[in-house]
Amino acid sequence: MAILEVEDLKVYFPIKAGIFNRTVDHIKAVDSVSFSIEEGKTYGLVGESGSGKTTTGRGIIGLENITAGKILFDGVDITDKKSKTKDIRRDMQMIFQDPYSSLNPRKRVFDIIAEPLRNYESLSKLEEKKQVQELLQLVGLSPESILKYPHEFSGGQRQRIGIARAIALKPKLIIADEPVSALDVSVQAQVLNFMQDIQKELGLTYLFISHDLGIVKHMCDDIAIMYKGRYVEQGTKHDIFNNPQHIYTKRLVSAIPDINPRNREKQFRFRRDVQKEYDESYDDYFDDKGLAYGLQPISDTHLVALPERG
Protein backbone atom coordinates (compact mmCIF):
# COMPACT_ATOMS: atom_id res chain seq x y z
CA MET A 1 0.00 0.00 0.00
CA ALA A 2 1.29 3.43 -0.87
CA ILE A 3 1.83 5.51 2.21
CA LEU A 4 2.54 8.67 0.30
CA GLU A 5 1.04 9.70 -2.98
CA VAL A 6 2.07 12.85 -4.71
CA GLU A 7 0.10 14.00 -7.70
CA ASP A 8 1.18 16.74 -10.00
CA LEU A 9 3.05 18.61 -7.30
CA LYS A 10 4.09 22.11 -8.22
CA VAL A 11 6.11 24.49 -6.12
CA TYR A 12 6.84 27.83 -7.74
CA PHE A 13 8.87 30.64 -6.32
CA PRO A 14 8.01 34.11 -7.47
CA ILE A 15 10.63 36.27 -9.16
CA LYS A 16 9.97 39.80 -8.17
CA ALA A 17 10.91 42.82 -10.14
CA GLY A 18 9.60 46.05 -11.47
CA ILE A 19 8.66 49.25 -9.79
CA PHE A 20 6.16 47.78 -7.43
CA ASN A 21 8.09 44.65 -6.74
CA ARG A 22 5.48 42.64 -8.51
CA THR A 23 5.90 39.04 -9.40
CA VAL A 24 7.02 38.93 -12.97
CA ASP A 25 7.87 35.30 -13.31
CA HIS A 26 8.26 32.08 -11.41
CA ILE A 27 11.06 29.72 -10.70
CA LYS A 28 9.43 26.39 -11.24
CA ALA A 29 11.38 24.60 -8.57
CA VAL A 30 9.07 21.63 -8.70
CA ASP A 31 6.98 21.29 -11.82
CA SER A 32 4.38 18.56 -12.01
CA VAL A 33 5.93 15.80 -10.06
CA SER A 34 3.93 12.66 -9.29
CA PHE A 35 5.01 9.58 -7.44
CA SER A 36 4.01 7.26 -4.70
CA ILE A 37 5.98 5.46 -2.04
CA GLU A 38 5.17 2.00 -0.74
CA GLU A 39 5.20 1.45 2.95
CA GLY A 40 8.49 0.20 4.29
CA LYS A 41 10.39 1.05 1.15
CA THR A 42 13.12 3.59 0.48
CA TYR A 43 12.42 5.93 -2.35
CA GLY A 44 15.40 7.80 -3.75
CA LEU A 45 15.28 11.21 -5.33
CA VAL A 46 18.38 12.10 -7.33
CA GLY A 47 19.39 15.07 -9.39
CA GLU A 48 21.85 17.87 -9.83
CA SER A 49 22.04 20.81 -7.62
CA GLY A 50 19.00 23.00 -8.03
CA SER A 51 16.86 20.35 -9.64
CA GLY A 52 14.20 20.66 -6.97
CA LYS A 53 14.81 17.69 -4.73
CA THR A 54 14.88 19.58 -1.50
CA THR A 55 11.90 21.65 -2.50
CA THR A 56 9.91 18.51 -3.17
CA GLY A 57 10.71 17.18 0.26
CA ARG A 58 10.00 20.44 1.97
CA GLY A 59 6.77 20.83 0.05
CA ILE A 60 5.56 17.47 1.22
CA ILE A 61 6.27 18.10 4.86
CA GLY A 62 4.85 21.60 4.72
CA LEU A 63 7.88 23.81 4.92
CA GLU A 64 7.16 25.23 1.51
CA ASN A 65 3.92 26.54 0.10
CA ILE A 66 2.51 24.30 -2.53
CA THR A 67 1.47 25.98 -5.74
CA ALA A 68 -0.59 23.14 -7.11
CA GLY A 69 -1.03 19.41 -6.87
CA LYS A 70 -2.18 16.97 -4.32
CA ILE A 71 -0.47 15.08 -1.57
CA LEU A 72 -2.10 12.07 0.01
CA PHE A 73 -0.55 10.71 3.14
CA ASP A 74 -1.91 7.44 4.35
CA GLY A 75 -4.92 8.14 2.18
CA VAL A 76 -5.54 11.58 3.73
CA ASP A 77 -5.26 14.72 1.68
CA ILE A 78 -2.63 16.93 3.30
CA THR A 79 -2.03 19.32 0.46
CA ASP A 80 -3.33 22.31 2.25
CA LYS A 81 -1.21 23.65 5.04
CA LYS A 82 -4.18 23.74 7.34
CA SER A 83 -5.05 20.18 6.66
CA LYS A 84 -1.68 19.18 8.02
CA THR A 85 -3.15 18.61 11.39
CA LYS A 86 -1.04 17.68 14.26
CA ASP A 87 -1.96 14.07 13.95
CA ILE A 88 -0.84 13.83 10.38
CA ARG A 89 2.23 15.77 11.08
CA ARG A 90 3.56 13.48 13.70
CA ASP A 91 3.60 10.65 11.25
CA MET A 92 5.94 12.42 8.94
CA GLN A 93 9.36 13.58 9.98
CA MET A 94 12.51 14.89 8.43
CA ILE A 95 16.22 14.31 8.71
CA PHE A 96 18.35 17.21 7.66
CA GLN A 97 21.45 17.48 5.60
CA ASP A 98 23.71 19.30 7.97
CA PRO A 99 24.20 17.57 11.28
CA TYR A 100 25.78 20.71 12.63
CA SER A 101 23.07 23.20 11.96
CA SER A 102 20.12 20.91 12.43
CA LEU A 103 20.61 20.65 16.15
CA ASN A 104 20.11 23.73 18.22
CA PRO A 105 23.53 24.25 19.76
CA ARG A 106 21.99 25.88 22.78
CA LYS A 107 19.91 22.94 23.78
CA ARG A 108 20.84 19.79 25.56
CA VAL A 109 20.38 16.52 23.79
CA PHE A 110 17.55 15.82 26.17
CA ASP A 111 15.63 18.91 25.17
CA ILE A 112 16.33 18.34 21.52
CA ILE A 113 14.92 14.87 21.46
CA ALA A 114 12.11 15.73 23.82
CA GLU A 115 10.92 18.62 21.65
CA PRO A 116 8.50 16.56 19.53
CA LEU A 117 7.33 14.67 22.59
CA ARG A 118 6.49 17.89 24.34
CA ASN A 119 4.62 19.18 21.35
CA TYR A 120 2.52 16.09 20.86
CA GLU A 121 2.36 14.14 24.05
CA SER A 122 1.93 15.32 27.54
CA LEU A 123 4.22 13.09 29.43
CA SER A 124 5.41 13.40 32.95
CA LYS A 125 9.00 14.48 33.36
CA LEU A 126 9.97 10.99 34.30
CA GLU A 127 8.27 9.31 31.40
CA GLU A 128 9.76 11.83 29.10
CA LYS A 129 13.22 11.16 30.33
CA LYS A 130 12.71 7.46 30.03
CA GLN A 131 11.55 7.78 26.49
CA VAL A 132 14.44 9.98 25.51
CA GLN A 133 16.88 7.56 27.02
CA GLU A 134 15.30 4.71 25.18
CA LEU A 135 15.55 6.62 21.95
CA LEU A 136 19.19 7.35 22.58
CA GLN A 137 19.87 3.72 23.15
CA LEU A 138 18.04 2.92 20.00
CA VAL A 139 20.34 5.13 17.97
CA GLY A 140 23.34 3.70 19.72
CA LEU A 141 24.23 6.48 22.06
CA SER A 142 24.68 6.06 25.75
CA PRO A 143 21.66 7.22 27.78
CA GLU A 144 23.95 9.33 29.89
CA SER A 145 24.46 11.64 26.97
CA ILE A 146 21.15 13.38 27.54
CA LEU A 147 22.81 16.14 29.48
CA LYS A 148 25.38 16.87 26.84
CA TYR A 149 25.25 19.52 24.18
CA PRO A 150 25.43 18.80 20.46
CA HIS A 151 28.93 20.15 20.06
CA GLU A 152 30.21 17.41 22.25
CA PHE A 153 29.37 14.85 19.59
CA SER A 154 30.92 13.92 16.30
CA GLY A 155 29.15 14.50 13.02
CA GLY A 156 27.89 10.96 12.75
CA GLN A 157 26.65 10.96 16.29
CA ARG A 158 24.87 14.20 15.76
CA GLN A 159 23.17 12.84 12.72
CA ARG A 160 21.97 9.99 14.87
CA ILE A 161 20.63 12.42 17.43
CA GLY A 162 18.74 14.04 14.57
CA ILE A 163 17.37 10.67 13.66
CA ALA A 164 16.39 9.95 17.24
CA ARG A 165 14.43 13.16 17.25
CA ALA A 166 12.76 12.24 13.98
CA ILE A 167 11.66 8.84 15.19
CA ALA A 168 10.60 9.98 18.63
CA LEU A 169 6.96 10.08 17.61
CA LYS A 170 7.17 6.81 15.74
CA PRO A 171 6.45 8.34 12.37
CA LYS A 172 5.60 6.33 9.33
CA LEU A 173 7.51 8.36 6.81
CA ILE A 174 10.88 10.01 7.11
CA ILE A 175 12.12 12.46 4.58
CA ALA A 176 15.89 12.40 4.58
CA ASP A 177 17.38 15.31 2.70
CA GLU A 178 20.96 14.45 1.86
CA PRO A 179 21.50 12.97 5.29
CA VAL A 180 25.14 12.13 4.71
CA SER A 181 26.49 14.55 2.18
CA ALA A 182 28.07 16.74 4.82
CA LEU A 183 29.92 13.83 6.31
CA ASP A 184 33.24 12.23 5.59
CA VAL A 185 33.12 8.88 3.84
CA SER A 186 34.02 7.09 7.00
CA VAL A 187 31.22 8.68 8.96
CA GLN A 188 28.79 8.39 6.07
CA ALA A 189 28.93 4.66 6.35
CA GLN A 190 27.99 4.77 9.99
CA VAL A 191 24.86 6.79 9.36
CA LEU A 192 23.76 4.85 6.32
CA ASN A 193 24.11 1.60 8.16
CA PHE A 194 22.17 2.91 11.01
CA MET A 195 19.35 4.21 8.84
CA GLN A 196 18.94 0.80 7.36
CA ASP A 197 18.87 -0.85 10.76
CA ILE A 198 16.27 1.43 12.12
CA GLN A 199 14.14 1.10 9.05
CA LYS A 200 13.87 -2.59 9.59
CA GLU A 201 13.28 -2.23 13.25
CA LEU A 202 10.49 0.36 13.04
CA GLY A 203 9.12 -0.40 9.62
CA LEU A 204 9.92 3.06 8.37
CA THR A 205 9.43 4.42 4.93
CA TYR A 206 12.13 6.74 3.60
CA LEU A 207 12.05 9.44 1.03
CA PHE A 208 15.76 9.58 0.50
CA ILE A 209 17.10 12.67 -1.25
CA SER A 210 20.64 12.70 -2.52
CA HIS A 211 22.77 13.77 -5.37
CA ASP A 212 25.17 10.90 -4.88
CA LEU A 213 24.11 8.06 -7.11
CA GLY A 214 26.46 5.69 -5.34
CA ILE A 215 24.67 6.14 -2.06
CA VAL A 216 21.24 6.04 -3.60
CA LYS A 217 22.11 2.81 -5.24
CA HIS A 218 23.17 1.44 -1.89
CA MET A 219 20.10 2.59 -0.04
CA CYS A 220 17.07 2.72 -2.25
CA ASP A 221 14.51 0.41 -3.71
CA ASP A 222 12.98 2.84 -6.13
CA ILE A 223 14.70 5.80 -7.63
CA ALA A 224 13.58 8.91 -9.43
CA ILE A 225 15.85 11.25 -11.38
CA MET A 226 14.97 14.89 -11.33
CA TYR A 227 16.03 17.60 -13.70
CA LYS A 228 14.97 21.23 -13.58
CA GLY A 229 11.97 20.51 -11.42
CA ARG A 230 10.71 17.59 -13.43
CA TYR A 231 11.14 13.87 -13.37
CA VAL A 232 13.14 12.46 -16.22
CA GLU A 233 13.07 8.87 -15.15
CA GLN A 234 11.70 6.73 -12.41
CA GLY A 235 12.08 3.05 -11.71
CA THR A 236 13.52 0.41 -9.50
CA LYS A 237 17.15 0.48 -8.65
CA HIS A 238 17.69 -2.13 -11.31
CA ASP A 239 15.80 -0.15 -13.92
CA ILE A 240 17.81 2.95 -13.36
CA PHE A 241 21.29 1.55 -13.07
CA ASN A 242 21.13 -1.31 -15.45
CA ASN A 243 18.67 -0.02 -17.95
CA PRO A 244 18.76 3.75 -17.99
CA GLN A 245 16.56 5.04 -20.76
CA HIS A 246 16.73 8.77 -20.57
CA ILE A 247 19.84 10.35 -21.93
CA TYR A 248 20.13 12.50 -18.85
CA THR A 249 20.09 9.49 -16.59
CA LYS A 250 22.72 7.88 -18.69
CA ARG A 251 24.92 10.87 -18.43
CA LEU A 252 24.48 11.00 -14.68
CA VAL A 253 25.32 7.37 -14.29
CA SER A 254 28.34 7.65 -16.53
CA ALA A 255 29.69 10.56 -14.55
CA ILE A 256 30.06 8.57 -11.35
CA PRO A 257 33.74 8.08 -10.80
CA ASP A 258 34.72 4.47 -10.77
CA ILE A 259 36.50 3.32 -7.68
CA ASN A 260 38.53 0.86 -9.61
CA PRO A 261 41.53 2.50 -11.25
CA ARG A 262 41.79 -0.29 -13.71
CA ASN A 263 38.51 0.79 -15.27
CA ARG A 264 39.75 4.27 -15.99
CA GLU A 265 40.02 4.05 -19.70
CA LYS A 266 36.79 2.15 -20.03
CA GLN A 267 35.09 4.71 -17.92
CA PHE A 268 36.45 7.58 -19.99
CA ARG A 269 35.36 5.97 -23.15
CA PHE A 270 31.95 5.24 -21.77
CA ARG A 271 31.59 8.80 -20.61
CA ARG A 272 32.70 10.20 -23.92
CA ASP A 273 30.21 8.05 -25.73
CA VAL A 274 27.40 9.07 -23.49
CA GLN A 275 28.35 12.70 -23.83
CA LYS A 276 28.31 12.31 -27.59
CA GLU A 277 24.94 10.71 -27.49
CA TYR A 278 23.73 13.41 -25.14
CA ASP A 279 24.84 16.17 -27.47
CA GLU A 280 23.39 14.47 -30.48
CA SER A 281 20.04 13.45 -29.15
CA TYR A 282 19.42 16.32 -26.76
CA ASP A 283 16.46 17.53 -28.76
CA ASP A 284 14.81 14.17 -28.64
CA TYR A 285 14.70 14.22 -24.89
CA PHE A 286 14.09 17.84 -24.04
CA ASP A 287 11.56 20.31 -25.26
CA ASP A 288 12.45 23.70 -26.67
CA LYS A 289 12.77 25.15 -23.17
CA GLY A 290 15.26 22.49 -22.23
CA LEU A 291 12.76 20.78 -19.95
CA ALA A 292 11.90 17.13 -19.74
CA TYR A 293 8.74 15.79 -21.31
CA GLY A 294 6.00 13.98 -19.44
CA LEU A 295 6.66 10.49 -18.14
CA GLN A 296 5.86 7.51 -20.30
CA PRO A 297 5.71 4.04 -18.81
CA ILE A 298 8.03 1.57 -20.45
CA SER A 299 7.46 -1.18 -17.97
CA ASP A 300 5.42 -1.78 -14.81
CA THR A 301 7.93 -0.01 -12.70
CA HIS A 302 9.87 2.05 -15.15
CA LEU A 303 8.82 5.47 -16.33
CA VAL A 304 10.80 7.71 -18.66
CA ALA A 305 10.26 11.25 -19.83
CA LEU A 306 9.82 11.02 -23.52
CA PRO A 307 7.94 13.11 -26.01
CA GLU A 308 4.49 11.75 -26.60
CA ARG A 309 4.56 9.75 -29.69
CA GLY A 310 1.96 10.38 -32.25
Binding site: E48, L141, S154, G155, Q157, S186, K217, A255, I259, P261
Partner: protein, 338 residues
Protein backbone atom coordinates in the same frame (compact mmCIF):
# COMPACT_ATOMS: atom_id res chain seq x y z
CA UNK B 1 67.83 16.97 -15.03
CA UNK B 2 65.84 15.08 -12.50
CA UNK B 3 62.22 14.35 -12.91
CA UNK B 4 61.42 15.66 -9.48
CA UNK B 5 59.38 18.80 -9.60
CA UNK B 6 58.58 19.26 -5.96
CA UNK B 7 60.17 17.72 -2.97
CA UNK B 8 58.92 18.18 0.54
CA UNK B 9 61.37 17.24 3.22
CA UNK B 10 60.18 16.90 6.78
CA UNK B 11 57.67 19.65 6.25
CA UNK B 12 56.03 20.75 9.45
CA UNK B 13 53.36 23.42 9.58
CA UNK B 14 52.21 24.53 12.99
CA UNK B 15 49.43 26.82 14.11
CA UNK B 16 49.28 28.72 17.29
CA UNK B 17 46.40 27.73 19.51
CA UNK B 18 46.46 29.44 22.83
CA UNK B 19 50.08 29.81 23.69
CA UNK B 20 51.31 26.70 21.96
CA UNK B 21 52.07 25.67 18.46
CA UNK B 22 50.48 22.52 17.13
CA UNK B 23 51.59 20.89 13.93
CA UNK B 24 48.78 20.42 11.41
CA UNK B 25 51.23 19.07 8.90
CA UNK B 26 53.69 16.93 10.74
CA UNK B 27 56.90 15.75 9.20
CA UNK B 28 55.71 15.25 5.68
CA UNK B 29 58.18 14.05 3.11
CA UNK B 30 56.78 13.77 -0.35
CA UNK B 31 57.77 14.05 -3.98
CA UNK B 32 55.82 15.21 -6.99
CA UNK B 33 57.23 14.44 -10.40
CA UNK B 34 56.73 16.23 -13.63
CA UNK B 35 53.81 15.07 -15.69
CA UNK B 36 52.31 13.29 -12.76
CA UNK B 37 49.11 13.57 -10.77
CA UNK B 38 49.68 12.98 -7.11
CA UNK B 39 46.44 12.44 -5.24
CA UNK B 40 46.24 13.26 -1.58
CA UNK B 41 43.28 11.75 0.25
CA UNK B 42 42.18 11.84 3.81
CA UNK B 43 39.33 12.75 6.06
CA UNK B 44 38.42 16.28 6.81
CA UNK B 45 40.93 17.88 9.09
CA UNK B 46 43.78 15.61 8.23
CA UNK B 47 45.92 18.49 7.05
CA UNK B 48 45.56 18.35 3.30
CA UNK B 49 44.82 22.00 2.77
CA UNK B 50 47.40 23.04 5.31
CA UNK B 51 49.94 21.16 3.26
CA UNK B 52 48.90 22.81 0.02
CA UNK B 53 48.95 26.26 1.60
CA UNK B 54 52.41 25.64 2.93
CA UNK B 55 53.71 24.84 -0.51
CA UNK B 56 52.15 27.97 -1.91
CA UNK B 57 53.42 30.06 0.96
CA UNK B 58 49.89 31.24 1.66
CA UNK B 59 49.79 30.76 5.40
CA UNK B 60 49.85 34.08 7.11
CA UNK B 61 50.33 32.97 10.64
CA UNK B 62 51.84 29.57 10.62
CA UNK B 63 55.24 28.31 11.57
CA UNK B 64 56.75 26.33 8.75
CA UNK B 65 59.73 24.05 9.23
CA UNK B 66 61.47 21.73 6.85
CA UNK B 67 62.24 22.16 3.18
CA UNK B 68 60.11 22.73 0.16
CA UNK B 69 62.26 22.17 -2.87
CA UNK B 70 60.76 23.36 -6.09
CA UNK B 71 62.89 22.45 -9.06
CA UNK B 72 65.63 21.90 -6.57
CA UNK B 73 65.32 25.32 -4.98
CA UNK B 74 64.13 25.72 -1.43
CA UNK B 75 61.14 27.99 -1.53
CA UNK B 76 60.25 27.73 2.12
CA UNK B 77 62.40 30.65 3.07
CA UNK B 78 62.58 32.97 0.11
CA UNK B 79 61.68 36.63 0.03
CA UNK B 80 58.09 37.62 -0.68
CA UNK B 81 59.20 39.13 -3.99
CA UNK B 82 60.75 35.91 -5.15
CA UNK B 83 57.75 33.97 -3.97
CA UNK B 84 55.41 36.28 -5.83
CA UNK B 85 57.41 35.71 -8.97
CA UNK B 86 56.81 31.99 -8.65
CA UNK B 87 53.22 32.06 -7.55
CA UNK B 88 50.77 32.27 -10.34
CA UNK B 89 53.51 31.58 -12.80
CA UNK B 90 55.22 28.31 -12.09
CA UNK B 91 53.19 27.43 -9.05
CA UNK B 92 49.46 27.66 -9.21
CA UNK B 93 46.54 26.59 -7.13
CA UNK B 94 42.87 25.88 -7.60
CA UNK B 95 40.74 26.50 -4.58
CA UNK B 96 38.00 24.48 -3.07
CA UNK B 97 35.19 26.97 -2.99
CA UNK B 98 34.43 28.60 -6.31
CA UNK B 99 31.82 30.80 -4.67
CA UNK B 100 34.30 32.80 -2.66
CA UNK B 101 37.54 32.43 -4.56
CA UNK B 102 36.74 35.24 -6.97
CA UNK B 103 36.69 38.93 -6.22
CA UNK B 104 33.02 39.89 -6.38
CA UNK B 105 33.76 43.38 -7.61
CA UNK B 106 36.04 42.57 -10.51
CA UNK B 107 35.12 41.51 -13.99
CA UNK B 108 35.95 37.92 -14.81
CA UNK B 109 38.28 38.93 -17.61
CA UNK B 110 40.23 41.29 -15.39
CA UNK B 111 40.69 38.67 -12.77
CA UNK B 112 42.24 36.31 -15.23
CA UNK B 113 44.23 39.06 -16.89
CA UNK B 114 45.69 40.02 -13.55
CA UNK B 115 47.71 36.83 -13.46
CA UNK B 116 49.06 37.64 -16.88
CA UNK B 117 49.93 41.21 -15.98
CA UNK B 118 51.73 40.15 -12.86
CA UNK B 119 54.07 37.87 -14.70
CA UNK B 120 54.43 39.47 -18.06
CA UNK B 121 54.31 43.23 -18.13
CA UNK B 122 55.31 43.41 -21.74
CA UNK B 123 52.20 41.83 -23.04
CA UNK B 124 50.05 44.26 -24.96
CA UNK B 125 46.56 44.83 -23.78
CA UNK B 126 45.18 43.29 -26.90
CA UNK B 127 47.30 40.22 -26.65
CA UNK B 128 46.27 39.87 -23.07
CA UNK B 129 42.64 39.98 -23.87
CA UNK B 130 43.11 37.43 -26.59
CA UNK B 131 44.89 35.16 -24.22
CA UNK B 132 42.13 35.48 -21.64
CA UNK B 133 39.53 34.59 -24.24
CA UNK B 134 41.64 31.68 -25.27
CA UNK B 135 41.86 30.52 -21.68
CA UNK B 136 38.14 30.82 -21.21
CA UNK B 137 37.72 28.77 -24.30
CA UNK B 138 40.15 26.21 -23.03
CA UNK B 139 38.24 25.65 -19.82
CA UNK B 140 35.08 25.27 -21.86
CA UNK B 141 33.24 28.45 -21.16
CA UNK B 142 30.82 29.28 -23.94
CA UNK B 143 30.69 32.82 -25.28
CA UNK B 144 33.97 33.94 -23.64
CA UNK B 145 33.77 37.51 -24.95
CA UNK B 146 30.54 37.93 -23.11
CA UNK B 147 31.71 36.24 -19.94
CA UNK B 148 34.81 38.41 -19.97
CA UNK B 149 32.75 41.34 -18.82
CA UNK B 150 30.59 39.50 -16.38
CA UNK B 151 30.93 39.43 -12.63
CA UNK B 152 31.33 36.29 -10.56
CA UNK B 153 27.83 36.39 -9.14
CA UNK B 154 26.44 36.12 -12.63
CA UNK B 155 28.01 32.74 -13.17
CA UNK B 156 26.99 29.35 -11.89
CA UNK B 157 29.21 27.39 -9.54
CA UNK B 158 30.57 25.21 -12.30
CA UNK B 159 31.41 28.20 -14.46
CA UNK B 160 33.13 29.92 -11.62
CA UNK B 161 35.21 26.89 -10.88
CA UNK B 162 36.30 26.95 -14.49
CA UNK B 163 37.31 30.57 -14.16
CA UNK B 164 39.34 29.67 -11.11
CA UNK B 165 41.02 26.99 -13.17
CA UNK B 166 41.63 29.42 -15.99
CA UNK B 167 43.39 31.71 -13.55
CA UNK B 168 45.51 28.86 -12.29
CA UNK B 169 46.62 27.68 -15.71
CA UNK B 170 47.01 31.09 -17.28
CA UNK B 171 50.77 31.01 -17.15
CA UNK B 172 51.11 27.29 -17.78
CA UNK B 173 52.35 26.43 -14.32
CA UNK B 174 54.81 23.66 -13.75
CA UNK B 175 53.03 22.64 -10.60
CA UNK B 176 49.30 22.85 -10.17
CA UNK B 177 47.76 22.24 -6.78
CA UNK B 178 44.06 21.51 -6.86
CA UNK B 179 42.51 21.54 -3.41
CA UNK B 180 39.23 19.66 -3.66
CA UNK B 181 38.39 21.30 -6.97
CA UNK B 182 35.12 19.46 -7.40
CA UNK B 183 33.70 18.96 -3.94
CA UNK B 184 31.17 21.71 -4.42
CA UNK B 185 30.09 20.53 -7.85
CA UNK B 186 27.67 18.08 -9.35
CA UNK B 187 28.97 14.81 -10.68
CA UNK B 188 28.47 15.75 -14.31
CA UNK B 189 30.36 18.98 -13.87
CA UNK B 190 32.92 17.21 -11.75
CA UNK B 191 33.58 14.87 -14.62
CA UNK B 192 34.13 17.80 -16.95
CA UNK B 193 36.46 19.62 -14.59
CA UNK B 194 38.51 16.54 -13.94
CA UNK B 195 38.68 15.99 -17.65
CA UNK B 196 40.01 19.48 -18.00
CA UNK B 197 42.71 19.03 -15.41
CA UNK B 198 43.75 15.80 -17.01
CA UNK B 199 44.00 17.49 -20.35
CA UNK B 200 46.12 20.26 -18.92
CA UNK B 201 48.50 17.84 -17.40
CA UNK B 202 48.85 16.03 -20.66
CA UNK B 203 49.28 19.22 -22.66
CA UNK B 204 51.68 21.02 -20.39
CA UNK B 205 53.35 18.09 -18.71
CA UNK B 206 52.90 19.78 -15.39
CA UNK B 207 52.90 18.16 -12.06
CA UNK B 208 49.52 18.14 -10.34
CA UNK B 209 48.65 17.68 -6.70
CA UNK B 210 45.03 16.68 -6.47
CA UNK B 211 43.60 16.92 -3.01
CA UNK B 212 40.29 15.23 -2.38
CA UNK B 213 38.45 13.04 0.00
CA UNK B 214 36.59 11.28 -2.79
CA UNK B 215 38.31 8.00 -3.48
CA UNK B 216 36.52 7.70 -6.79
CA UNK B 217 38.16 10.87 -8.01
CA UNK B 218 41.67 9.77 -7.21
CA UNK B 219 40.99 6.38 -8.64
CA UNK B 220 40.24 8.06 -11.91
CA UNK B 221 42.84 10.76 -11.84
CA UNK B 222 45.93 10.03 -9.86
CA UNK B 223 49.15 8.36 -10.84
CA UNK B 224 50.26 8.09 -7.29
CA UNK B 225 48.34 8.54 -4.08
CA UNK B 226 49.31 9.77 -0.65
CA UNK B 227 46.94 9.03 2.21
CA UNK B 228 47.00 11.57 4.97
CA UNK B 229 45.85 11.16 8.48
CA UNK B 230 46.23 13.59 11.35
CA UNK B 231 48.89 15.64 9.64
CA UNK B 232 50.95 12.70 8.55
CA UNK B 233 51.29 10.72 5.40
CA UNK B 234 50.33 7.20 6.39
CA UNK B 235 50.67 5.55 3.03
CA UNK B 236 52.04 6.39 -0.41
CA UNK B 237 51.81 4.19 -3.44
CA UNK B 238 50.91 4.23 -7.08
CA UNK B 239 47.23 4.17 -7.73
CA UNK B 240 46.90 0.51 -8.60
CA UNK B 241 48.90 -0.69 -5.66
CA UNK B 242 46.99 1.46 -3.29
CA UNK B 243 43.57 0.36 -4.42
CA UNK B 244 44.47 -3.26 -4.85
CA UNK B 245 46.84 -3.77 -2.03
CA UNK B 246 46.29 -1.16 0.63
CA UNK B 247 48.39 -1.69 3.69
CA UNK B 248 47.67 0.85 6.33
CA UNK B 249 44.54 0.19 8.37
CA UNK B 250 43.35 3.70 7.68
CA UNK B 251 43.59 3.30 3.93
CA UNK B 252 41.81 0.02 4.13
CA UNK B 253 39.08 1.45 6.27
CA UNK B 254 38.57 4.29 3.90
CA UNK B 255 38.29 2.04 0.93
CA UNK B 256 35.93 -0.22 2.75
CA UNK B 257 33.52 2.46 3.75
CA UNK B 258 32.68 3.40 0.18
CA UNK B 259 29.33 1.94 -0.87
CA UNK B 260 29.90 -0.67 -3.49
CA UNK B 261 27.77 -3.15 -5.29
CA UNK B 262 26.38 -6.02 -3.34
CA UNK B 263 27.57 -4.66 -0.08
CA UNK B 264 25.05 -5.01 2.66
CA UNK B 265 26.76 -3.26 5.50
CA UNK B 266 29.30 -0.54 5.01
CA UNK B 267 32.42 -0.45 7.05
CA UNK B 268 32.51 2.17 9.73
CA UNK B 269 35.62 3.83 11.07
CA UNK B 270 35.04 4.54 14.66
CA UNK B 271 35.61 7.89 16.25
CA UNK B 272 36.71 11.03 14.56
CA UNK B 273 39.84 12.83 13.52
CA UNK B 274 40.95 14.42 16.75
CA UNK B 275 41.24 18.19 16.93
CA UNK B 276 44.69 19.59 16.43
CA UNK B 277 45.32 20.12 20.10
CA UNK B 278 44.28 16.58 20.96
CA UNK B 279 46.35 14.74 18.40
CA UNK B 280 48.35 11.97 19.94
CA UNK B 281 51.86 13.07 19.10
CA UNK B 282 53.49 9.81 19.82
CA UNK B 283 52.86 6.42 18.46
CA UNK B 284 50.51 5.47 15.69
CA UNK B 285 47.98 8.23 15.42
CA UNK B 286 45.33 5.95 14.07
CA UNK B 287 45.57 3.48 16.91
CA UNK B 288 42.75 5.07 18.82
CA UNK B 289 40.33 4.29 16.06
CA UNK B 290 41.18 0.64 15.82
CA UNK B 291 41.00 -0.34 19.46
CA UNK B 292 40.67 -3.98 18.63
CA UNK B 293 44.25 -4.04 17.40
CA UNK B 294 46.50 -4.72 20.29
CA UNK B 295 48.51 -1.71 21.40
CA UNK B 296 51.72 -3.69 21.17
CA UNK B 297 51.27 -3.99 17.45
CA UNK B 298 51.82 -0.28 16.99
CA UNK B 299 55.21 1.23 16.53
CA UNK B 300 56.40 3.75 19.05
CA UNK B 301 57.45 6.42 16.63
CA UNK B 302 56.34 5.10 13.32
CA UNK B 303 58.07 6.28 10.18
CA UNK B 304 57.25 5.61 6.57
CA UNK B 305 58.60 2.22 5.54
CA UNK B 306 59.00 1.27 1.99
CA UNK B 307 57.23 -2.09 1.82
CA UNK B 308 57.59 -2.58 -1.88
CA UNK B 309 59.34 -0.17 -4.24
CA UNK B 310 57.40 3.05 -4.28
CA UNK B 311 54.93 1.83 -1.67
CA UNK B 312 55.43 3.45 1.71
CA UNK B 313 53.45 2.74 4.85
CA UNK B 314 53.66 4.23 8.29
CA UNK B 315 53.41 1.93 11.30
CA UNK B 316 53.73 -1.78 11.11
CA UNK B 317 50.32 -2.34 12.66
CA UNK B 318 48.98 -3.07 9.19
CA UNK B 319 50.47 -6.46 9.54
CA UNK B 320 47.97 -7.25 12.27
CA UNK B 321 45.01 -5.41 10.89
CA UNK B 322 41.69 -7.08 10.31
CA UNK B 323 38.13 -5.80 10.23
CA UNK B 324 36.17 -6.63 13.33
CA UNK B 325 33.09 -8.75 12.82
CA UNK B 326 29.59 -7.34 12.84
CA UNK B 327 28.54 -8.32 16.33
CA UNK B 328 31.65 -6.91 17.80
CA UNK B 329 31.14 -3.76 15.87
CA UNK B 330 27.64 -3.33 17.22
CA UNK B 331 28.96 -3.74 20.68
CA UNK B 332 31.50 -1.09 20.05
CA UNK B 333 28.81 1.23 18.82
CA UNK B 334 27.18 1.19 22.16
CA UNK B 335 30.31 2.19 23.94
CA UNK B 336 31.54 4.52 21.35
CA UNK B 337 32.92 7.80 22.52
CA UNK B 338 29.86 9.77 23.23
Amino acid sequence: MSNKLLELKNLKTSFQIGDEYYAAVDDVTLTVNKNEVLGIVGESGSGKSALAFSVMGLHTRAKIEGNILFNGKDIANITPQELNRLRGDELAMIFQDPLTALNPLMEIGDQIAETLILHNQNMSQKARKERVIELLNMVGIPRPEYVYEQFPHELSGGMRQRVVIAIAIANQPELLIADEPTTALDVTIQAQILDLIRKLKNDMHSGVILITHDLGVVAEMADRIAVMYAGQIVEVADVHTLFENPKHPYTRSLLNSVPADGQDKLHVIQGIVPALQNLPREGCRFSERIPWIDATHHEVNPVLHEVTPGHFVRCTCHKHFYFPDKTKEAELHGNSRS
